[in-house]
Subunit: 334 residues, 2 copies
Amino acid sequence: MGKTVILAHGSGSKLSHDLVEKNLLQPLHNDLLAKLDDSAVFDVRGKLAFTTDSYVVSPIFFPGGDIGRLAVCGTVNDLSMSGAVPLYLSLALIIEEGLPLEDLDKIVNSIKVTTEEAGIQVITGDTKVVNKGSVDKIFINTAGIGLISDGVDISGSNAKAGDKIILSGSIGDHGIAVLSLREGFDFKVPVQSDCAPLNGLVADMLEASKNIHVLRDPTRGGLATTLNEIASQSDVGISIFEDKVPVHDGVRGACELLGFDPLYIANEGKTVAFVAADDAEKVLAAMKNNNYGKEAAIIGEVTESRKGKVVLKTRLGASRMIDMLTGELLPRIC
Amino acid sequence: MGKTVILAHGSGSKLSHDLVEKNLLQPLHNDLLAKLDDSAVFDVRGKLAFTTDSYVVSPIFFPGGDIGRLAVCGTVNDLSMSGAVPLYLSLALIIEEGLPLEDLDKIVNSIKVTTEEAGIQVITGDTKVVNKGSVDKIFINTAGIGLISDGVDISGSNAKAGDKIILSGSIGDHGIAVLSLREGFDFKVPVQSDCAPLNGLVADMLEASKNIHVLRDPTRGGLATTLNEIASQSDVGISIFEDKVPVHDGVRGACELLGFDPLYIANEGKTVAFVAADDAEKVLAAMKNNNYGKEAAIIGEVTESRKGKVVLKTRLGASRMIDMLTGELLPRIC
């Protein structure tokens, strides 16, 4: 059996210092992180975005990602959805006594690779170790800081009647990938999580047009819940065409089998954008040129009528109201 | 039995929205938090400090505080120890299914009261609910952002030979308060946690002198570990006079009984300051005038010799080396 994390690794003792030095600071090295003061210090001027998320996904390794990649992408994406260029992350680990050090190293390496892909740095952190049974393996919190350029004004309350709604790709992949591993389902078409940092995609979109009014990543609660949030925040109606929403075969099959609706399944590498109609094709083209936007599609539009509501036009021409998720669908998906 | 938190409270569903709205946004209300976008957005220019900590203390309510007050104070203090004026906090909760809503409300109220005392705002947050047994009651992460004034240059690597070392008050109170409740010890002299936000104290100190070289709060690992960190970061020697270090009777008694050394017990409302000798009395006087520095004392000085080492001069005139904490003393103290 390999080495594991023990309680003394979290005590503030010499052993904690060794763990932080060898297993965190060395792989994630940068000048700001290396200072090891109580806070990281940097110069900035402008409009800042600040966000946080805790990650409690189970299992911690899943097809297409792990809790480390998820913790970087989730916070990078929350910043990106505010139109911010992500700059810095904090990283706080809560580790269960007994976690194999090998697992920790895999997670930290995944954090390293993902921060490099996103072009950001972890500059401050914290490590706690708790006794067996007090946490399930490892939970991670990241907070992030990003800088918003002049002229960018993106918010869930900015949707306007006439806006086109663009989705960056297929829905439901993350939720189904985690669920199928956790429950031991063996679907014919294997599903990979879409977990990805979207700051590059958003940069490409903002270069194509400044008339992007809303960006949001449809995570917990899925696309349906996200659209309902925006309809309510902006006090507009939203109309979606069912046959325009990309869903991979594996996800569609799994959902049919389990009685789920892909509209409510979590995504971790998708964005939904509300764009002034005149600029929609330009933004769509920019998205399709990015690796994380190849399957992008205009899926609907914003309406004056039915304020606060989301209406789905089905393949057969019928309309049905799409509500927020009620109850719990898939716990610990992120 | 009262109402409890259920899994659906964390799903991104309507019920999650209701919990966030009623139990978090209403008590912690401010304009930035109320926007409910993926990030909070604010203007800033200057030198920023950024820090994070997760809080896993057990039990979650203890004499002199609770996990909510601790989560605010810990991050406010980390910012303050960088010489920053704390501005904003993020707040991320991981809640075990079944936590009484009454407990959640008590914790959130404590967060509210403590942020008001510290004059800061929670502007972004996250709530996860996990199944019973996956986390012990509630863990909290706060990250914080603060602004460092011109002319302030405080770091663990700035200690200079000749600096006086000032401690803001008695040591060991937090660790012993939590431990005695957890283990059911019934000490003759009850001990209260010292958990407190120190930004006001640090502001008073910086008004008295800009020649403060190091500030640090001796939390996990206690004063001994903190001094060792600074000796190593600054490559200086540190000399401490045992009889100058304030220890309350209750803490001293408990430590004697349990075979602990107060130098290694965690504090949550204390700072140790390294100040140019000429300004030490001025800074000390400013501290004694603040509610959280009444028992402040000069406890030692920085030496050219014995670089990287901490030496304790005992009451009887002997010298002994004080090392960092080794192993685990008290898990889940913060």
